[in-house]
Amino acid sequence: MAEQKEVDRLTGTETTGHEWDGIKELNTPLPRWWLYVFYATILFSVVWVILYPAWPIGLSDYTKGVIGYSARADLMRDLEAQRAERAVWRERFEAQEVAEIARDPDLLQFAMAGGRVLFADNCAPCHGSGGAGAPGFPNLVDDNWMWGGTLEEIHHTVVYGVRNDHPEARMSEMPAYGTLGILERDEIAAVADHVLHLAGRGEDDPRGREIFAEQCAACHGDAGKGLAELGAPDLTNNIWLFGGTRQDIIAQIRQPRHGVMPYWFERLGEAELKQVTIYVHALGGGQ
């Protein structure tokens, strides 16, 4: 670098003395305060490193900074504040019956928002993110309910679950007509044909009708309309939990499968249970 000033012949401007292949750079000095601002930013970073978490140490640790700031602690504080903010709502949910809550537009709105999140976290793994269910896991969006579709009935199912070890749980068991030897193969086939006929598919089988009246009508009703108190499904529509082909129905009569749902009252609070109930009811099928 040249130590001496050199002035460009054409422009009358000084050069920086830097030269590349005969091309020289004109010197347009930067304002000095600009340089100081640059120094200030360096200083700022030093102060920052001292005060705040900055450098990783190994793979799992980091310098903590002297003022003890933590983004996680901030988040916890925010969450705490939000919980406090929601406390009023929580109280209203706890104090009122589900049906009352569902009638109040504000609470309904709140329950829908809260219920959506709760449902996605807890219920969606089995019932699907939109509640459409899957084979063996009931669809909650349609108007067909095994254990009843009113707010109170849904609330009971959510709180105590189905066929678990809680005494209040929904409980029912259809006998395994085939494996227990109650019905013969051809009898089961005849019943299946009758059931299909109830759902509007195929010719009736008089023998099946007879057996149905004897064996099945106690729970499913004479017309096959089902009975929510006993968890006996309506057989007259085309909504089938374990599949609707003749084969599926025969299999279910021979050796029924039974779904299990956990109880939620210990995992979710009272307000949350009511919110999920209202959300499920509002998915579309609620009665």
């Binding site: 000033k5 050199e6 422009t11 304002p31 349609d142 509002a282 579309g284």
Partner: protein, 511 residues
């Protein structure tokens, strides 16, 4: 590098100021100057110290105009948030308000919702094109008269003059050794600056909060950290930019001078020195003859009054913000010597060339460039005004459920679910009739509002609010044979009969 060469070539360096070190647009008609002698044994400097500028006070027409503009603009700024505007109960009564937590912006009768932010875009486009147009006509009037940087710097300089005296007094004061008197004046000046800066930062906050409330809260220590923080921030920036940085902002920080030369042409008005009659310059005594010499008496008053330290006699340059104070300065001198005024003048380059050659001058306001700006401006303003006047004050947002797309009910009918939002942007309670079109036999159910399926239902919406509903539409299987169908939601305002239609899809099994 070429740019640099061209620009500097027209202005050989003899800077009385830091300001002329910035590149200046080329001055047509000036040839490149021969090379000055090279190589003096000084060290090369890569950083330039700021030369402090001590602008001298001046009286005159342009100064008067500048004061008037300054007064009006500051008044608008400080009074703005205090203007009240009744919007009825439950709504803020501040004419100009940006309500961040409430997600609303208010401008007198106009209320903007977040999804209407494109009006802000429109406003910015209009402002930009307006600025281009004004610049093409009148040069740097924005910089010289209305830019906040200029206005507040001018105000701060006025305070400085009141406390420390005019140019010569300030030069003397800065050279003098530290004394009680000097310390007192300096402290007084900075205290006054800080007070103005605080008022500036404080007023800014009022545009985002209810002014009387936030002022009361501010002085009783009840205001939020954000309020104090932003007030402190804007106080600091005002103090630093108007008190300390001043012309450095225009020369080194602001992008506008860098590209505004693109709006200039030879018919744009600029502050310029009539070198054809000023040169050769030289000092003069009163009553002496000006025969055979130029009118410039080389008194230096023009660069002494300049807030950016520019010597305009060297031609147009970037550091000149076009404040026209040097015109006032020179006119005072010309009057004293009985010479024609406006040796430094507000004129176009074309006219200057014409005057120099004794040709008639003319003001060309209508030029292709200005016509284009006007056209764009008119289009933008018309579109803005039209959409603003005809904009809906009720809007609908519909989101079909994706999981599941549709549900088959026990009677075989098909149902779709929608999240249905009504944006009621008016200040009163509304009630709407919702019906559908496009699918025969479609029935509506609304959670919490319409339990029994019906062909039409009534939905309420609160003032200035978004009402959200879960709407279920059930259709008989024979009217929805395809995988998707068009479905229209028709929302009718029961009071005004205003209708909003919204098209969405209805999914089915497709068999």
């Amino acid at each position: 590098m070429t740019m640099e060469t061209q620009r500097s070539a027209s202005h050989p360096a003899t800077p009385p100021s830091a300001a002329s070190s910035g590149p200046a647009p080329a001055d047509p008609g000036t040839a490149a100057t021969p090379a000055p002698p090279a190589a003096s044994p000084e060290k090369i400097k890569f950083f330039a110290d700021r030369e402090k500028i001590y602008p001298r006070n001046i009286h005159g027409t342009w100064r008067q105009i500048k004061w008037a503009v300054l007064g009006v603009l500051l008044a608008l700024y400080y009074i703005g948030p205090w203007i009240r505007w009744d919007r009825g109960p439950g709504a803020p009564d501040q004419a100009l308000l940006i309500d961040m937590p409430g997600r609303r912006a208010y401008f007198f009768t106009i209320e903007i919702w977040p999804q209407e932010v494109y009006y802000l875009t429109g406003l910015l486009i209009i402002a930009a094109i307006g600025l281009f147009l004004v610049t093409a006509w009148f040069g740097r009037v924005w910089c010289g008269f209305t830019c906040p940087q200029t206005v507040w710097t001018d105000l701060f300089m006025w305070v400085e003059r009141k406390i420390e005296g005019d140019r010569n007094a300030r030069l003397r004061l800065d050279k003098a050794p530290l004394s009680f008197g000097k310390a007192g004046r300096k402290i007084g000046k900075h205290a006054a600056w800080l007070l103005i800066a605080l008022a500036t930062g404080g007023a800014w906050i009022m545009y985002f909060n209810d002014a009387p409330t936030v002022v009361r809260a501010f002085f009783t220590g009840q205001a939020s950290t954000a309020v104090y923080g932003f007030t402190a921030l804007f106080t600091a920036t005002t103090y630093l930019l108007a008190g300390w940085a001043r012309e450095q902002v225009c020369i080194y920080m602001c992008p506008w001078p860098r590209f505004q030369s693109a709006m200039f042409d030879e018919d744009s008005l600029i502050v310029t020195y009539e070198d054809w009659r000023g040169e050769p310059r030289g000092s003069a005594r009163k009553g002496q003859s000006f025969e055979g010499r130029g009118d410039c008496v080389d008194c230096g008053l023009c660069w002494q009054v300049c807030p950016t330290g520019v010597d305009i006699r060297k031609g147009q340059q970037m550091a000149c913000i076009g404040c026209a104070l040097c015109i006032d300065a020179c006119n005072n001198v010309m009057d004293r010597f009985g010479r024609p005024r406006n040796l430094i003048t507000y004129d176009s380059i074309a006219n200057q060339n014409a005057r120099a050659e004794g040709r008639p001058v003319r003001m060309r306001l209508v030029r292709p460039r200005t016509l284009i700006y006007i056209a764009v401006l008119a289009i933008a303003a018309t579109v803005m005004a039209y959409t603003l006047v005809t904009r809906d004050r009720v809007d609908v947002a519909v989101q079909p459920d994706r999981s599941p797309l549709f549900v088959q009910l026990s009677d075989g009918s098909i149902r779709n679910a929608y999240t249905f939002k009504i944006l009621n942007m008016e200040r009163n309670n509304k009630s709407y009739t919702l019906t559908t079109a496009g699918i025969t036999g479609a029935m509506l159910t609304v959670i919490g509002y319409q339990a029994e399926p019906a062909t039409s239902t009534v939905l309420p919406a609160r003032p200035d609010d978004v009402a959200t509903f879960r709407v279920l539409v059930t259709a008989p299987p024979e009217s929805v044979p395809l995988a998707t169908h068009d479905l229209w939601f028709v929302l009718t305002d029961q009071a005004t009969g205003e209708v909003v239609e919204h098209r969405t899809v209805f999914a089915s099994s497709g068999n």
